[in-house]
């Protein structure tokens, strides 16, 4: 079987928002977006979601079933919201690894966590989700919150996450998805294509990054497609929960 992404001699392309870019450039372009927004990332998250992103993350932690002494990998952990909570739960005998491909986001996350006194059981690793630099069967829980849609080869990233999970370990993917109600979907489109870039322009002086955010959400696989991708990779008992009318979905799969 030939990989459809490499069907032609020219460099295969992938989507970056609604644009198509050579695969080798996507990571660089995503990095530029996050370098640009890193400093005001938390503020923008609160403004854009009206603070609801905290409830989405809260539900992710509930469903993770993390226990004292567990080893947790928080991929694309950004400013460390999930890592901070996991660090509290796993305690001194556990470990949380905050991994992000973007150095700026990792730095903001590390500074924020250290300022809040989170230390001792947290490690910071700059890593690519497609090629995780960890041994096989290493983590009890792997989470990726609002990160998978920025990954160039999502299948490779899911396979990599499966590899580093212990058998019985859980992967939780929190990501924007497809609203379940058509009317609500229209209102959401209007909000994300007009208001979001405007807010981005006002707060971070960068409308393009937030236009990319809205576009990348539309290009991301919907609930059933992502579920299928996780099953194809080898996860079992894959299920998903829609939140806020399907704007966000939390997928969970177990490594057999």
């Amino acid at each position: 079987m030939t990989d459809p992404r490499k069907a032609h001699d020219a460099e295969p392309t992938t989507h970056f928002g609604y644009k198509h870019v050579p695969e080798s450039q996507k990571a660089q372009k995503v990095a530029e977006v996050f370098h640009s927004v890193a400093a005001k990332y938390d503020l923008m998250n609160d403004l854009m979601s009206g603070g609801i992103h905290r409830l989405w993350k809260r539900f992710t932690i509930e469903l993770s079933g993390v226990r004292h002494g567990n080893r947790v990998l928080d991929i694309a952990g950004g400013t460390g919201d999930l890592t901070r909570q996991f660090s509290r739960i796993v305690g001194p005998s556990g470990e949380v690894v905050l991994a992000d491909i973007n150095a700026s986001m990792l730095k903001v996350g590390r500074d924020k966590l250290l300022d809040k006194g989170v230390a001792g059981n947290v490690r910071f690793v700059q890593a690519d989700a497609e090629k995780l630099p960890f041994p096989d069967n290493h983590f009890d829980v792997v989470t990726i919150a609002f990160g998978l849609r920025n990954v160039t080869h999502k299948e490779d990233a899911i396979a990599s996450m499966l590899r580093v999970l212990k058998p019985g370990g859980r992967l939780l993917v929190l990501e924007f998805s497809k609203p379940t109600n058509a009317l609500f979907s229209k209102a959401y489109d209007a909000y994300s294509f007009s208001l979001l870039p405007m807010m981005g322009k006002l707060i971070t002086n960068d409308a393009d990054s937030y236009r990319y955010l809205a576009e990348s959400i539309r290009m991301h696989p919907d609930q059933e497609t992502l579920k299928g991708m996780m099953e194809t990779a080898g996860f079992e008992r894959v299920s998903y929960h829609n939140m806020t009318g399907g704007i966000v979905a939390l997928h969970r799969g177990i490594k057999p």
Binding site: L55, I61, E62, S64, G65, R67, H68, R252
Partner: protein, 207 residues
């Protein structure tokens, strides 16, 4: 999502109160990593509690098995929340505990030992002099109110039990209960004796 929002709000409020007691958080830290499930039977709802050195975490679900599970109707849970003597409520007949009951008892003890330092919280807003003035002007009336309420309760109990004879006094009731217990024991013995005699009179009858 609404439930998660309510729980998040409640969690913030509870943890703010817990921070007012200087001993509560270090004691809660000792329960860190343990999961308590509260399963309300009527109406049906569930709540998970996790303690650590920052306070309590409330969750409507938890993806892992709880270390201790408390099953009780809402009335008992409310009594548990409001009662000063929480351990007595935990031993009630409609309360069911599975798993490590010591965990629940420890949490109940921490909550019932709470001594909130309101004056410290007020001093953060009004400064030490303002807090002292407000504290002393509130402390005396509060003390008087508490003593008056205690005294009123005692007087009312005495009046209804001893003077008006409208209610049975506690000592009197206890004496009647003891008599009833003795009578029940005597009846049990008599029943056993009659059975033994009946068996002697008619040895062929199957037991």
């Amino acid at each position: 999502m609404l439930r998660a929002a309510l729980l998040a709000g409640a969690e913030r409020g509870i943890n703010r109160v817990l921070r007012l007691d200087p001993t509560a958080l270090p004691r809660l830290a000792r329960l860190s990593g343990r999961i308590i499930e509260i399963d309300c039977t009527a109406p049906a709802w569930r709540l998970f509690l996790l303690a650590d050195d920052e306070g309590l975490r409330l969750a409507s679900s938890w993806g892992a098995e709880a270390d201790c599970r408390l099953r009780a109707p809402a009335t008992s849970l409310l009594r548990l929340a409001l009662s000063r003597d929480k351990t007595a409520v935990l031993h009630g007949p409609d309360v069911e505990i599975d798993g490590d009951s010591g965990l629940l008892t420890s949490l109940a003890e921490i909550l019932q030992d709470l001594e909130l330092d309101w004056e410290y919280e007020i001093s953060r807003w009004l400064g030490p002099v303002g807090a002292q003035l407000l504290g002393s002007s509130l402390r005396n009336p509060l003390h008087w109110l508490r003593e008056s309420a205690d005294s009123l309760r005692q007087d009312l109990a005495d009046y209804l039990g001893e003077e008006a004879r409208a209610l049975v006094g506690q000592a009197e009731a206890q004496a009647r209960f003891d008599e009833l217990d003795d009578m029940k024991l005597a009846l049990d013995r008599l029943e056993a004796r009659i059975e033994r005699l009946a068996l002697n009179l008619n040895p062929d009858r199957p037991e």
